[in-house]
């Protein structure tokens, strides 16, 4: 017997597997508040109290829980009667997607005092101790500041109360409506449903980087009792599609099959097993025998586009929309405005270099997963962890040759996205299996599969050359981009074009040239990732701008003031300017001023570690700027409905998904404001293709500015209708609904400027962030606390990519397929960031607001690299700025350390080839 939340549970009655851990047992027993983030003891999402001691339930063999008591987050409190720690997380807004929250609350509950405060959390001198206590709890959304506030008992959300009634609205730090449910484990995420009668799927992955499948023997798998179905390429449609999803399905190349007879990367889906239990399915997956005939493989994108390279999709025709299959080029852009050569020739100052970014992953705490079933009326229902339910519905219908009206896709609250869930990655397999078997089928990916099977962020190599006159005004700008899209082209064109767009268009320069290619390799595919290509190219351009400032003798902000676009300028890359991008507002000037003022106060500089015999600290400052369009190009649509019932209850129906971006809060605020009701009277039904009007989806930071705009318009229309009948809903005989839509055009631009002050230890390569400031131009701030949280979370994720994170692939094989090896920032790794808001009003956005979800990521890496450059006197050319790389940089400057034996010479995968190092002179001559 195991006592769970005060109730005895008999394992024999539930049924256990000999190798079962407590986490899955508890979920089998109905405790769906126990989450899986990693299933490996690294992330803490599954933490429960075992006889009062906080324990990773994924590491606990279920037999060891016999005779003991288990308390889950739901056993601590309920939405109506929250535990003090749970109240603290609501008051602080200590979550975004909320998937890690259960583990935080349980861990904190074991440490906290009667008021829910973790001892020491409210003492600045003990911040490091608290970070140590929580190093076993990862959060990918918040950047940890709001979690620290929760642990310390600090409140950030606006208080409820009579004074607030009727002012739901805009400008107030309303807490997320789901807050009390999230902190008590009652908010259902994708797979938080009972599993009775549900079959489970497990995926077999390729062990080869490039091979033709000669045969697949499924007999050993099928012989395992409980196995219902094994799907291989013989059993699924051969229709080509792209996992990447956009408003126009033509944006991505059709180069992917559900299950292919050719594998193009290690980790690719090869087969899927369906069985009565997840354990049986996973076991059976190991019994599928695949015989491969290896093909030549290519892992370097430069080699991949060189004549003679193995072709990944050479067999595809024009219908696949691959730019040059015979050269492994998925997408390309070559163009020039003005005359770059002339601009360089006329320049007084020229700088240039080649920059590289590593492969990084989203690391949402909720892994991808979906469950499919068929409703009695024949509708195929897929509940999935997606940012784009309508786009998934449409493509599933196409793949399965069904009328979209017979497919329903629904997303519950999504446990983190960051672009990674703008893809069709699991829905097709569960859908086809459920249609085949007539029973519900569920697939929940493992954390290792998140790393090895799913798209990551495009690694890029970016060459930049800038020319400027004596005053530092640009005369030429040349950018050459090589993007590694891996084995498939999902998002390859979009990321490449977008990456080159606002990064280059930010600067006013008569002579610009951009050459960009996205290239197939036999690496794990790349895909959509927060910033959508901008971060990689901004890293290079902003590093080059920093070098230009040094060359000319200007400050980092001044060189930008002299060159950035201002209202009246066009947005130019390497061809005709955009026609639907406008300055709905402009706050970049304010952002630059805000950052200057912040750096001037010298914060953190006094905290430089004292020099010692062995440490060698140097100080530096760095700044970088970023621009982003508030909405993606070529259409982004949302149709919202707002309904007022006679009792005053308001219901919003909108198709966009909430994945921690806070749109559920913003939509509630916009409707409450327009209708003059308290936010508590507003209910949101979202992300269900059966109940909501069409929505392109939650990507490109559109949840507020497209879906939100539709909600605001519908609510305003409803207000007008109510006013026409006197304004009081009680006179209504039946609910009244108003509908409105938004089409995402024209679009505005938002700005972010980041600044760092760092100390660098030249003896170890450690980079210590002493001050971090981001000034943002989001125009009207709809919800200050949420916006601050979005910025902090973006900065934290970017600090991860800039300092720590790297998917290490060797010949296509990943050696960092767990959180213990892939360094998602933990609490101790993220310094506080001062978030400063420009004061502008956008003429396009809802209530004068602009989007601000992806953007905070983009200026962080170059600002940090520029600060390291300032400290060391040597410019970094690749991220992450891991300690080993920084240590080597320091040695190139000073010759610190003794020569190493040849066996120890640096040769890790990120190291630049020798011939390219020569290009990385900080200021080069004309060549």
């Amino acid at each position: 017997m195991i006592e769970v939340n005060g109730t005895p549970v008999d394992p024999a009655e539930i049924g256990t597997h000999p190798g079962q851990c407590l986490r899955t047992f508890l979920r089998d027993a109905g405790r769906l508040d126990v989450k899986k983030g990693c299933d490996a003891g690294d992330c803490g999402a599954c933490t429960v109290l075992l006889d009062g001691t906080p324990t990773h339930s994924c590491l606990t063999p279920v037999h060891r829980a016999e005779g003991r008591t288990v308390t889950t987050v739901a056993g601590l409190g309920t939405p109506e009667h929250l535990h003090p720690v749970q109240r603290g997380f609501v008051a602080a807004g200590g979550f975004q997607c909320g998937f890690c929250t259960a583990g935080y609350v349980v861990t904190a509950a074991a440490l906290a005092d009667a008021d829910g405060v973790v001892p020491g959390a409210d003492d600045p001198a003990r911040e490091a101790d608290v970070a140590r206590l929580f190093k076993g709890n990862l959060c990918r959304c918040t950047g940890y500041r709001s979690i620290r506030d929760a642990l310390a008992g600090r409140s950030n959300v606006a208080p409820d109360g009579p004074g607030c009634a009727g002012h739901g609205g805009v400008g107030r730090s309303l807490g997320a409506p789901a807050g009390p449910r999230i902190v008590s484990g009652c908010e259902p995420f994708t797979l938080d449903l009972p599993t009775t009668g549900v079959l489970h799927m497990s995926v077999v992955q390729s062990t080869e980087a490039h091979a033709r499948i000669v045969s697949i023997d499924t007999s050993r798998a099928e012989a395992l009792p409980g196995v219902r179905l094994v799907l291989t390429h013989h059993d699924v449609p051969g229709t080509l599609f792209s996992t990447g999803r956009h408003q126009s399905r033509l944006d991505d190349p059709d180069d992917t099959r559900m299950l292919d007879d050719v594998v193009r990367y290690v980790g690719q889906r090869v087969a899927a097993v369906v069985a009565d239990s997840p354990q049986t399915a996973a076991h059976a997956a190991t019994l599928v025998d695949v015989v491969y005939a290896p093909l030549p493989a290519v892992f370097d994108p430069e080699a991949a586009r060189t004549p003679g390279a193995p072709l990944l999709h050479g067999d595809k025709g024009p219908e696949s929309r691959i730019s040059e299959p015979a050269r492994n080029v998925v997408a390309q852009s070559h163009g020039e405005v003005g005359d770059v050569d002339a601009g360089l020739a006329a320049a007084v100052h020229t700088v240039g270099g080649t920059w590289r970014t590593a492969r990084v992953t989203h690391a949402q705490l909720e892994t991808h997963g979906a469950r499919a079933w068929v409703d009695p009326d024949g509708t195929l229902v897929v509940r999935t962890s997606t940012q784009v339910p309508f786009l998934i519905r449409d493509e599933l219908a196409r793949l399965l040759e069904r009328d979209p009206a017979t497919v329903r896709v629904v997303a519950a609250r999504v446990g983190g996205g960051f672009g990674g869930k703008q893809e069709l990655l699991v829905e097709d397999l569960v859908a086809i299996a459920t249609l085949r078997l007539g029973a519900p089928v569920q697939l929940e990916l493992t954390r290792a599969q998140q790393f090895t099977m799913l798209p990551c962020r495009h690694p890029m190599r970016v060459r930049v050359r800038l020319g400027a006159d004596a005053d530092g005004v640009l005369t030429a700008m040349a950018v050459d981009v090589l993007s590694d899209t891996g084995a498939y082209g999902n998002h390859a064109p979009g990321v490449m074009f977008h990456g080159c767009h606002e990064s280059v268009a930010l600067y006013r320069c008569a002579n610009k040239r951009v050459d960009a290619e996205a290239v197939y390799t036999n690496n794990v595919p790349s895909g959509a990732f927060r910033g959508y290509g901008l971060g990689q190219i901004i890293f290079a351009i902003e590093s080059a701008m920093d070098e230009l400032a040094r060359e000319v003798g200007l400050s980092a902000t001044e060189v930008r003031r002299r060159n950035v676009v201002v209202p009246g300028d066009e947005f130019v890359v390497n061809g005709a300017p955009d026609t639907d991008l406008v300055f709905g507002s402009y706050g970049l000037d304010q952002c630059l001023d805000l950052v200057d003022a912040a750096l001037a106060d010298g914060r953190g500089a006094a905290a430089v570690p004292a020099p010692s015999a062995t440490s060698d600290w140097v100080l530096g400052e760095g700044v970088a700027a970023a621009m982003i369009a508030t909405i993606p190009p070529r259409g982004h649509h949302s149709e919202a409905a707002v309904t007022m019932a006679p009792d005053g209850q308001v219901t919003i129906d909108v198709g966009t998904a909430e994945f921690g971006n806070g749109t559920a809060t913003v939509h509630t605020q916009l409707a409450a404001d327009a209708l003059g009701v308290a936010p508590e009277r507003v209910r949101l039904r979202a992300s269900d293709t059966a109940t909501a009007g069409y929505d392109t989806g939650a990507y490109g930071s559109t949840g507020s500015v497209v879906a939100g705009a539709a909600v605001a318009r519908a609510a305003a229309d409803l207000r007008a209708r109510l006013d026409a009948v006197g304004g009081d809903p009680s006179v209504l005989e039946s609910p009244v609904t108003a509908r409105a839509s938004s089409d995402g055009s024209p679009r505005s631009v938002a700005f972010n400027v980041h600044a760092f002050r760092v100390a660098v230890d030249r003896s170890t390569g450690e980079v210590r962030i002493l001050d971090s400031v981001q000034a943002v131009d989001a125009a009207v701030v709809l919800n200050p606390e949420q916006l601050r949280g979005q910025v902090e979370g973006g900065v934290a994720q970017a600090i991860g990519g800039a300092l720590y994170e790297e998917l290490v692939l060797t010949d296509g094989v990943l050696s960092t397929a767990a959180f213990r090896d892939y360094r998602v920032p933990q609490m101790a790794d993220v310094p506080p960031t001062r978030v400063l808001f420009a004061d502008t009003y956008d003429t396009l956005g809802p209530a004068g607001a602009k989007s601000m979800s992806e953007a905070p990521y983009n200026p962080v890496a170059p600002a940090l690299a520029n600060a390291v450059r300032d400290a060391l006197g040597v410019r970094p050319h690749e991220i992450p700025l891991s300690r080993d790389r920084v240590w080597r940089l320091a040695r190139t400057d000073t010759g610190v350390g003794q020569p190493l034996p040849p066996a120890l010479a640096p040769g890790h995968p990120g190291e630049l080839p020798v011939d390219e190092k020569d290009e990385n002179h900080d200021a080069d001559d004309h060549d």
Binding site: G19, L59, P61, K135, W887
Partner: protein, 292 residues
């Protein structure tokens, strides 16, 4: 995670239960076993049913005042025991701090300390294994129980390479025996990782004996940076040059996603120098070399 190929778990109650059937392995804390798929693993034999005292005084003849750490002692139990040492015997203050430092060196939090065992961590042979750092510095000897008898191996000899030990799969680490002199020695501890409190890339522990057979002797143990623990032994505190030369002679630098070998070889001397400076600067040290 669920170990999907498992067909049974036995809880060992007596030594006779420790004979493994084909496909079986021993289960200590389980914090590693349950953290990653275990292909081919059919059964587990849970050692925690044996009821070994987590820590106990080391019986003669190995030594009066020594410490026996059970293979099944959890990190939390050892940390708790060590927390009581300074009160019981002030000469153990530095050793107690070393236990804490090593526990904190784990990537894993206090929650996993409750589960992970000292013996299990040693048996994994991971370069970053903090209990390998600890027991190597303590000069501990492992007592291994096999089906055909017992044998004793120094931890620094037991761990032979990255993720490889001299333990046979059918042998259990009964205990890690720590000699008395290790508990009264003075220690200095340094660690570096690729993130502030991340998985260790290099750990250097310096030890200066105060009592025992070799007072004044100094050992500097390098772990995490190397494929196996590397003890550098000196009859007295070495000079910085002597220590640097010894570190430079190390030939088994480790290379993995937690740090390339060149950087590890580059930062380990920095840590070693700091360790030496701390040992040399300490008050109350006597004997030759104390002034180095």
């Amino acid at each position: 995670m669920d170990l999907v190929e498992l067909t049974g778990v036995r809880v060992a109650r007596t030594r006779d239960d420790l004979r493994l059937a084909p496909g079986e392995a021993f289960l200590g804390g389980g914090s590693w076993l349950y953290s990653t798929p275990q292909p081919g693993l059919r059964g587990l034999v849970d050692l925690t049913g044996l009821g070994w005292a987590p820590t106990e005084p080391l019986a003669a003849p190995e030594g009066d005042g020594g410490l026996r750490i059970a293979g099944t002692c959890t990190v939390a139990q050892l940390v708790a025991a060590a927390a009581g040492w300074p009160g019981a015997d002030p000469r153990r203050t530095s050793a107690a701090a070393l236990v804490r430092d090593c526990a904190e060196a784990f990537l894993m939090s206090f929650k996993v300390w409750e589960v992970a065992t000292v013996g299990g961590n040693v048996c994994l042979g991971l370069p970053a294994g903090a209990m390998i750092s600890l027991t190597s510095a303590l000069g501990a000897t492992a007592e291994l129980w096999g089906p055909d008898g017992e044998r004793r191996v120094a931890v620094t000899d037991l761990v032979v390479d990255a993720e490889r030990t001299d333990r046979r799969t059918d042998e259990v680490v009964r205990a890690l025996d720590v000699p008395a002199a290790a508990l009264t020695a003075r220690y200095a501890f340094r660690k570096v990782a690729l993130s502030p409190i991340g998985r260790s890339s290099a750990v250097v522990v310096g030890r200066l004996d105060v009592d025992g057979p070799t007072p004044g002797a100094c050992t500097v143990v390098v772990t995490a940076a190397t494929r196996r623990p590397v003890p550098l032994r000196f009859p007295a505190l070495p000079t910085p040059v002597e220590l640097a030369a010894a570190v430079a002679a190390i030939d088994c630098w480790y290379d993995d996603p937690h740090g390339p070998a060149d950087w590890r070889a580059g930062v380990t001397p920095v840590l070693a120098a700091e360790v030496l400076a701390e040992l040399a600067g300490g008050a109350g040290v006597s004997g030759p070399g104390a002034a180095a």
